[in-house]
Amino acid sequence: MVKKPKVAFFDFAGCEGDQLQIANLEEDILELLDLVEVVSFREIMKEHSDRYDIAFIEGSIQRPIDEKRLKDIRANADVLIAFGNCACNGNVNKLQKDWSIKEMEEEIYPGAEEIIEGNEFFEAYPTKAVDDVVDVDFYIRGCPVRSDQVLYYVKRLVSTPIARNKDVDFKTILRNLEKDDRSVVRYNPNKCILCRRCSNICKEVLGVDALGVVEKGSLTIISTPQNIGFDNNGCIQCGQCVSSCPVGSLYTYSVVEELKEDLGRSDITMAVDSMALASFVLRHDTLKRLDPEVSEKYVVSALKRLGFAKVIMYDHYLLQSQVADEDEDYLVLASWCPSAQKYMADKASESIGIKGENSPWNLLISEEENDICVLSPCTAMNNIDGIKYVLTAPNLDELFKQLNVDIKFVDPEDGVYDGKTLPKGFTHPGIPRDSGDLLISRDIVERIESTDQAKGPLNIYPCLKGCANGGGNHPTIEVEEMENRIEWLTKLRGVK
């Protein structure tokens, strides 16, 4: 014969209506008794035993002696069930919180202070539920509980192994995808819940269908065919997928955010192109009014305050790259525009004789050991391997704001460049020397293509009428603004 589990019922502060529900089971009680052996049930039997497996606790806990008794029961029982609402959460007994214990004693036992004093049976404290005192394995709720519910729980406990109320640990598999930094919109597969809002918006609403669901099962991700990257798959950078993502797995790349995190971690060298410096200074009224040299010092000092390991002058490399090959046989063609340089290197290298290593950024990269950040007017610098961050003047503004550096309160005396600087009187290569006209990218490229008479450093403003090489997503700049910058730069460098 299979040994029946022993069941005991215990009552604490409560109306005992829940136990009455069991007593009222009528013929079903026979079924219950077939399954278990009731060893303690004050309401229906005289016998009592302290040897039991399952304990039903009814009522809430009001006194220290109740608490001690409950802890003893917990130690004896394998399974402890909070039975009825009073045990589960305190129920109506918890309403007593509106009065103090003293007030209640006076109301209920008037004139019996001497008897109550020091008597443990009257030592009450604010009501506790059972699970405030001991661990509870199961809860049967109801006021009163439904009798068939009791039967169900008892049957379940008898027939199946006991699984206690525990939090289940789900292990998540992190997907180690290579970091994809090709596109403006980026994707973090480990955050993605595969709701498909992004792909639906991209396909159904916008009709672009740049991103879609790829693979099956646990490998499913939002991606592009053959993993070519969003930008290569016709992404129009509308940002609808980013704003529709409920968990933030799609996000737009921000150099400011990335730099903000990396500044504390690694040594970064800041190379300042003074054309971008001019743009930055002209954005600030307070800096604009100062002497150009002083405002430059303010900016350099603020950059050092941000946490850059070194702040160097990029113009130095610009100049160096232009004069380096003056005595060579081939024509010297250099440009501080990466797009024009790339164009010349790709298309015109054989006929004109351009050396790729002549570019200013290659000189910079070969000399610097730290990660390089460039303050540049041109976002196409992003395409150069070895330059990790490219900040434009508005980006720098944002960085100052996010890291709480106020440029007005830095000490301009600290604003000294590390490394070599341009001697006084040398112009920024961006300033045209021969004529007052600004040369526009497409004209220059045409000149290179049609004639062989493009000698000497070129002053190309690719941004003026669209980028020479089709790169960069920035707005084109106005001629007037460019002239303002040149005016400021001429003052700064002391050129007449």
Partner: protein, 163 residues
């Protein structure tokens, strides 16, 4: 941002004609993409990048869409399969009898991973769920021949028969 140039192979005149024929054979190709991809795969053994691009363009959908379908169904291959296909049963019965070990051994012998194809195009390795002969577990199939109660030591011998 960095944008790599994606090179797409040009289709030959014959390929275009065959694909057009397949598209024309379906009543409503835009809503019968599964059948369409199946027919393309039957023709060329696998779904190639340039073919899917062409077909997507023709039926007025996107490559992203077709690629999603092609990677979702295990029916479709993106890479051409080998001359012989080895299917290793990973069902419950075979799993209990050590299908994992068989799979590991096969991966080691062939030098490829699951769903891969050997460099000489001789074998493709696939995992399947229950071949319906659990009494023979663990089971592997090479093309349409079934091998039951396989031991890791027998694997090389089995593969020798397939050239």
């Amino acid at each position: 941002m960095m944008c790599e140039d994606v090179e797409v192979k040009e289709l030959t005149w014959e390929e275009k004609r065959t694909l057009d024929k397949i598209i024309g054979s379906l009543e409503d190709p835009k809503h019968d993409k599964l059948r369409l991809l199946q027919l393309v795969q039957n023709e060329y053994l696998s779904l190639r990048d340039e073919h899917m691009r062409y077909v997507a363009d023709k039926i007025g959908t996107s490559y992203t869409d077709l690629y999603g379908i092609a990677t979702f169904y295990s029916l479709f291959n993106l890479n051409p399969p080998g001359r012989h296909t080895i299917s290793v049963c990973m069902g419950t019965g075979c799993h209990v009898k050590g299908a994992q070990r068989i799979m590991k051994k096969l991966e080691k012998v062939l030098g490829i991973k699951v769903n891969g194809t050997t460099k000489d195009q001789r074998f493709s390795l696939k995992s399947v769920r229950c071949l319906g002969c659990c009494g023979l577990a663990p089971v592997i199939m090479v093309d349409d021949q079934t091998f039951g109660r396989v031991r890791t030591g027998q694997i090389e011998g089995i593969l020798e028969d397939f050239e």
